[in-house]
């Protein structure tokens, strides 16, 4: 049975992608972000199983694992902390930062209130910085709006006649592209932007690999994915290194 032809799988896949995109936009915890990229790759591989020959799916899977591991390694290198946003939060006092395990942690001060907070020695702090309610609402609305628009565009007759693909594949692809663009558009943190770019590229890949199912294209797209992960990982390390120096922890 073609897995992707079942309606249930389509809706499950779509819901997973939307939830993943929303989580990427809302969560600051890099452990969650890395987990999300694994999930996005898993869904895309399941879609590829229905559209590509098995040797190409295998190539895609290997690429996905490499890319996800690169993000994992980057996050691990910077101690899982989302430095640029956390540093701006500390400077502006726009986020609430709470201590969990004060006994183990060095101390810094919040610039807004002058109140003392504690930071972990391994800097496991990002998940403690919760976004404001207005940010939460704004980003949730963006996810809903973009999902609706992407699904609608995927089901236009013009789109179908242009690409000639199954509407379900195009829906998932377009939602991934739209949410990927939203992620890269709403952050200046290289790590999260890198995840957004990978989401965008994976969404595009769902359509393009089906249109051009050749080993050369798959190989070049794999190199593209890896280079994007490498570039954003490098930028993450550069920023984190500087921030860790200036924050003195």
């Amino acid at each position: 049975m073609e897995l992707f032809e079942t309606t249930l799988f389509f809706w499950l896949a779509l819901a997973t992608i939307v939830a993943s995109g929303a989580a990427l936009l809302l969560l600051r915890d890099r452990r969650a972000q890395v987990a999300i990229i694994f999930i996005i790759f898993l869904v895309s591989i399941l879609v590829f199983i229905s559209t590509l020959p098995s040797y190409l799916v295998l190539a895609k899977a290997i690429t996905a694992i490499i890319v996800a591991l690169m993000f994992f390694a980057t996050a691990w290198q910077v101690h899982w902390i989302e430095t640029p946003e956390l540093s701006s939060a500390i400077e502006s006092g726009t986020m609430s930062i709470q201590a969990v395990n004060p006994d183990e942690l060095p101390v810094i001060e919040d610039a807004a209130g002058g109140q003392t907070f504690t930071m972990p020695d391994h800097a496991r702090q990002s998940w403690l910085a919760a976004p404001q309610l207005s940010t939460l609402i704004f980003r949730s609305l963006i996810v809903v709006f973009l999902t609706i628009v992407a699904i609608r565009v995927a089901r236009f007759d013009a789109t179908a006649s242009m690409l000639g693909l199954d509407a379900s594949i195009m829906s998932i692809s377009f939602v991934m592209i739209a949410l990927g663009i939203a992620v890269v558009g709403l952050t200046e943190a290289p790590f999260r932007a890198g995840l957004g770019m990978i989401m965008l590229l994976t969404g595009f890949d769902l359509v393009y690999a089906t249109l051009q199912p050749s080993l050369a294209v798959v190989a070049l797209l794999a190199v593209v994915n890896i280079s994007v992960a490498l570039g954003s990982g490098y930028l993450t390390l550069v920023r984190a290194e500087r921030f860790l120096e200036t924050a003195d922890f």
Partner: protein, 475 residues
């Protein structure tokens, strides 16, 4: 024995990059390796015969111009010779300029790898696969734009993001063009492909509103490295555009391509001018000046006669010496990276030749009278006023705005009162703060831009001949 020409390019550039990394502790050695590599490749590009046997080291060597990989190819032909020649000449200028300023270790190694990807972009067939190399090129360029010293990452990240968004459009357009021949609704498909291709190139060519990475990169990164990246990345994309124009002849006259590109170019020029006038750092100002010049180049691609295309190519080539001179000057004026007008206040009295280089380079870029770009800009104005008057007015407006910004910068740079009395230099130690190499390069560079601006008949025919040697645009 067989020698694959495309592989020679890639192999030599990789070897050059590895050697330059190994000798990374000595910047002069690094630059020497890079210069030698690009010189060898320049000679190879211009001299290597196609599909023939040559005698090397007592052996007969068969030169193969095509390297095939899983259904795609890297092809060396007479069509790509001019592009590779321009690329290596440009790279040599940047590497020569690098001798006079302090650079990061990654610049030379990363620069050679970037050149390898641009070469692959030029050599790959069909053209849409060049877009994938462009994406990899953007990812590699971030290593030149950010490092621990220049830790701000906005410019590099935006470059990566814009290319990630732009490349899919070119790939999709390429796929559509491949299938257009067999389709019943061929005209519709061609229009769709033209639209996708136009959007893709607008993004990749940093046309407004996808321009923001350029000024930010020039402000945040090492100015010289950023100038190199902006120039090379733009050159690579323009070569892909030229290649696509050669493959898709109807695209030049397609109304969608014409209007999207024409208005995009004008918007870029106008926005660059408006933003430039308020800038307070030389890096950002250079970013907007570069964008304005890029917009001028793009305008030539919307004109349908072939002479205009060649004019655009001459603009592309003539920009490089101006950018290099500016980079040498700003690298010496602001070695710590802070190139704001305020930080450099009064510095013209301590580093006069570097200051001169910044102004001559910057003004040459926008076609200021008596500089090398002026005759070319003048021809462009003449062509535009006939066929696209709005373009000519926009370009003039932007140039005036940029000149005003430079004038404000000059006032601060020449502000002698900013120097403490004890540091006010006498005439005898005016040049003491500048290294001899830097001084010589600034003088030679500024003199060349001015002399060839006053007597363009000595240099313009060479650039024009180089532009005319692009067989894709001869028509």
């Amino acid at each position: 024995m067989a020698l694959n020409i495309p592989l020679v390019f890639l192999f030599l550039l990789i070897v050059g990059a590895i050697i330059s990394w190994v000798v990374g502790r000595w910047q002069t050695a690094q630059l020497g390796v890079a210069l030698l590599t690009t010189l060898i490749l320049l000679i190879f590009t211009t001299q290597v015969p196609l599909e023939s046997n040559v005698l090397a080291l007592g052996q007969s060597v068969i030169l193969q111009p095509v390297f095939n990989f899983v259904g795609r190819s890297l092809t060396f032909s007479d069509q790509v010779r001019p592009a590779l020649t321009v690329l290596f000449l440009m790279a040599m200028l940047f590497f020569i300029g690098g001798f006079s300023i302090q650079l990061e270790r990654t610049f030379v190694t990363g620069g050679l790898l970037v050149l390898m990807l641009v070469a692959a972009t030029i050599l790959v067939k069909p053209f849409q696969f060049a877009a994938l190399f462009l994406q990899i090129l953007a990812a590699l360029a971030v290593f030149l734009l950010s490092d621990v010293v220049h830790f701000k990452t906005r410019g590099a990240l935006r470059l990566l993001v814009f290319f990630t968004i732009g490349v899919p459009f070119v790939l999709l357009a390429g796929w559509q063009l491949e299938g257009a021949g067999n389709a019943t609704n061929g005209v519709d498909i061609l229009d769709q492909a033209a639209l996708l291709l136009s959007i893709g190139f607008l993004i990749l060519l940093s046309v407004f509103p996808f321009h923001s990475w350029v000024p930010v990169a020039l402000e945040e990164a090492n100015s010289y490295a950023a100038a190199f990246v902006v120039t090379v990345v733009n050159l690579a994309v323009i070569f892909v555009l030229i290649s696509s124009l050669a493959d898709i002849d109807w695209l030049r006259s397609n109304y969608i391509f014409q209007s999207v590109f024409g208005w995009g170019a004008i918007a870029t020029i106008v926005i660059s001018g408006i933003f430039a006038v308020g800038q307070r750092s030389y890096g950002r100002l250079m970013g907007y000046a570069l964008l304005s010049d890029l917009g001028a180049t793009y305008l030539t691609f919307t004109l349908t006669d072939y002479t205009s295309y060649q004019l655009g190519l001459v603009l592309l080539i003539i920009r490089v010496p101006a950018v290099v001179l500016w980079g040498i000057g700003i690298g010496a004026l602001a070695p710590d990276g802070d190139d704001s007008f305020e930080a450099l206040r009064g510095l013209a009295w301590r580093k006069p030749f570097s200051a001169l280089a910044v102004f001559i380079g910057g003004l040459s870029l926008i076609g200021f009278p008596l500089t090398i770009s002026f005759p070319v800009r003048w021809q462009l104005y003449q062509a535009l006023i006939v066929s696209n008057a709005w373009g000519a007015y926009a370009l003039m407006l932007a140039s005036v705005c940029i000149i005003l910004a430079y004038a404000r910068g000059a006032r601060l740079l020449l502000d002698r009162s900013a120097l403490p009395e004890s540091e006010t230099p006498s005439d005898s130690d005016l040049v003491a703060a500048e290294s001899p190499v830097n001084t010589v390069m600034c003088i030679i560079g500024a003199a060349a831009l001015l002399i060839f601006g006053i007597f363009p008949q000595f240099i313009l025919p060479i650039f024009t001949a180089l532009a005319q040697s692009f067989p894709q645009l001869v028509g």
